[in-house]
């Protein structure tokens, strides 16, 4: 295995008595796009800033290309950072902004210009080279910031919520754009976001953080169907939480909860799913589907409120309406077994009887 592009070893950051980042271990795989995902205030920016060298960790070590960089100032790290505010130099033209890095590296003027042109070409802004940053739209400024970071041929490209200042459509376009740039350049990218869709769509590797700790990491395809705990499940859009007969906690997404007629035989659950009797409380029309709110008793005997997406075109049985008694099916393959302990493996069985009081943290 090759050395990771960067590695954090037991890294903490304390501000006074407050611990913003709490002893995290993280490896950034080379040539991949890694996202740091988590709710506001969980320490994503703080982690990125320590990686970039803007603040020294209170404890722990930072390795870049396998070398200790913990005390290296930012100008010696050769990392390309894109700030949330873009931080374009307002007194310089777009071209000069992009050529700034090469200039600081004493690259001759002609070569500088060529590299700046190349980087601007990559982000599709070569025609705006002579403008000042103020004369650009938010999306264009963002691309310039990207070009400026790429022009130094960085060892890592660090992006702090690069899309959060853009409008919804542009944001979705830029996701693909950043992925394209990443694969064209083969750069190692670390992207901070609090948007789970963005992380799922863009990441090779996603790292979920909460209160300064890493809760779970892995490829989106591995993380999404198997959230480690209730926090991750909620963050990824799981709405329904059940306590199983053996005391384990499980989560299921509204689109995977099937609403069936009350007389459906329990045999339907031959595939090993859970069947619950439920009462429909409310049905909301949402165009593509109906959002059905139900009250049910989970296998452990607790009353729970559940949400189910009922798609008229694919679902079998009659359309539910408020007051109906129905049967709910949660297929086994769609059940995400949760651990009460954030650090445990996703499928580790939990015997703790307190599982039903798993922490619920506000997510933004």
């Amino acid at each position: 295995m090759t050395t990771p592009a960067a590695e954090l070893v037991g890294v903490s950051q304390r501000f006074g008595s407050f611990t913003a980042v709490d002893s995290i271990d993280l490896q950034i795989p080379r040539g991949r796009l890694t996202t740091l995902l988590g709710p506001s205030g969980c320490g994503k920016t703080t982690t990125l800033r320590m990686l970039a060298g803007y603040s020294a960790p209170t404890s722990g070590r930072i390795l870049i290309d396998g070398d200790d960089a913990t005390r290296l100032p930012p100008e010696k790290r050769n990392l390309g950072m894109v700030f949330q505010s873009y931080a374009l130099f307002p007194h310089m033209t777009v071209a000069d902004n992009v050529a700034y890095g090469p200039k600081m590296r004493k690259v001759p003027a002609a070569e500088r210009r060529r590299r700046a042109g190349e980087a601007l070409e990559l982000v599709g802004l070569a025609h705006l080279a002579d403008r000042k940053p103020k004369q650009l739209s938010g999306g264009q400024q963002q691309r310039v910031a990207l070009a400026r970071a790429i022009a130094i041929r960085p060892r890592l490209l660090l992006l702090d919520e690069p899309l959060s200042n853009l409008d919804a459509r542009l944001r979705v376009q830029m996701r693909a754009e950043i992925r394209r740039i990443q694969s064209e350049t083969g750069l190692t990218v670390v992207l901070v976001t609090h948007d789970q869709d963005e992380a799922l769509e863009m990441s090779d590797e996603m790292v979920l953080m909460r209160s300064g700790k890493i809760v779970q990491s892995g490829a989106p395809r591995d993380v999404f169907p198997a959230p480690a705990d209730r926090f991750v499940a909620e963050f990824l859009g799981y709405e329904n939480f059940l306590t199983l007969a053996d005391g384990r906690q499980a989560a299921v997404r509204p689109e995977h909860l099937r609403v069936l007629p009350a007389d459906t035989s329990a045999a339907t659950s031959a595939d090993g799913g859970i069947v619950l009797d439920a009462v429909v409380l409310d049905v909301a029309y949402r165009g593509v589907d109906l959002l059905v709110t139900l009250e049910a008793t989970d296998p452990a005997g607790n009353a729970v409120r559940l949400l189910a997406d009922h798609r008229a075109d694919t679902a079998t049985g009659p359309t539910p309406s408020a007051g109906d008694r129905v049967r709910l099916l949660a297929p086994e393959a769609r059940l995400a077994h949760l651990s009460a302990d954030s650090t445990a493996a996703p499928t580790a069985p939990t015997t703790a009887p307190t599982a039903s009081t798993a922490p619920t943290e506000g997510i933004s």
Binding site: A52, P74, E75, A87, L88, F89, Y100
Partner: protein, 273 residues
């Protein structure tokens, strides 16, 4: 932004509007009187002037004490302004960008000359520096004026810096600039309007200062305002009005240059943080 708002508010509000006009009248009319009397052909300071001539301008320019005082005042103002900026900019950087504890205290300390009466400062300087340390009068005046201008330097350059995104310097560092190069290539250009504003404001404040200069003057080093004050106490001819008019004209030229280079809105916007 607030300047624009208060301007429109002033225009809309009749009482505020009247007060504003009254304010301008109170400020400008006396100046007009002085300028008018400076052009008199007569030999007393009187309005309306007796006839029209440039005679008193000639006299003022030929009057050695005035001309010597102009040179002294210019020397003092330029040096004090330079010193105040040289000291003030690092202080501003420390306040706005530094990671030092007690920033509030530091800021308070450097703004204090604005609230301590100048006569008190002057007296303190007189006792400590001239009597106590036996510094000569020019050095003492220079130190006094520098202290007087420091708050302007800190405040006005600070306003420029507060407007600039701190991530700019970080971006420069990340792109490979040493702290010094980041300062020269990014921070300093951001500070430019603040530096020009603070410089002009400092220069004018020092050039026109009376209380400190009055307390710390000696026979061989006198500033222009003090010399003019002395002169008025002895004689009442229009030469003083002519000298004042010349100073006024110079100030207007400076103001125009300032407007052309950074713009008044920026200069004074910088002060009302």
């Amino acid at each position: 932004m607030s300047a624009v708002m208060s301007r429109t508010a002033r225009l809309r509000h009749p009482v505020a509007g009247t007060l504003a006009v009254a304010g301008y009248v109170v400020m400008i009319v006396p100046i007009l009187f002085v300028v008018a009397t400076a052009f008199t052909a007569g030999s007393t300071l009187r309005f309306p002037p007796d006839g029209l001539s440039l005679r008193w301008f000639g006299e003022a320019v030929a009057y050695t004490p005035f001309m010597e005082a102009v040179v002294s005042s210019l020397q003092l103002a330029v040096l004090a302004t330079g010193l105040a900026l040289l000291l003030g900019v690092p202080v501003t950087l420390a306040i706005h960008r530094g990671k030092i504890p007690g920033k509030g205290l530091l800021e308070g300390l450097f703004l204090s000359p604005l609230v301590v009466p100048e006569l008190v400062v002057g007296l303190a300087l007189y006792q400590q520096l001239m009597i106590g340390l036996r510094l000569d009068n020019f050095t003492t005046l220079l130190l006094g004026h520098t202290a007087l201008l420091l708050p302007y330097a800190v405040r006005v350059t600070g306003a420029s810096l507060a407007l600039a995104d701190p991530a700019l310097e970080e971006a420069a560092r990340g792109l490979g600039a040493s702290p010094l190069r980041a300062f020269v290539t990014v921070t300093l250009p951001m500070l430019r309007p603040g530096l020009i504003s603070a410089g002009l404001l400092g220069f004018v404040t020092s050039f026109n200062n009376v209380p400190l200069s009055l307390l710390l003057q000696t026979r061989d080093f006198r500033t222009l305002p003090v010399t003019m004050l002395d002169y008025v106490q002895q004689s009442y001819d229009p030469m003083v009005a002519a000298a004042s008019t010349l100073v006024l004209a110079a100030t207007v030229v400076v103001a125009i240059v300032a407007e052309r280079t950074v713009g008044f809105a920026k200069i004074f916007g910088g002060i009302n943080r």
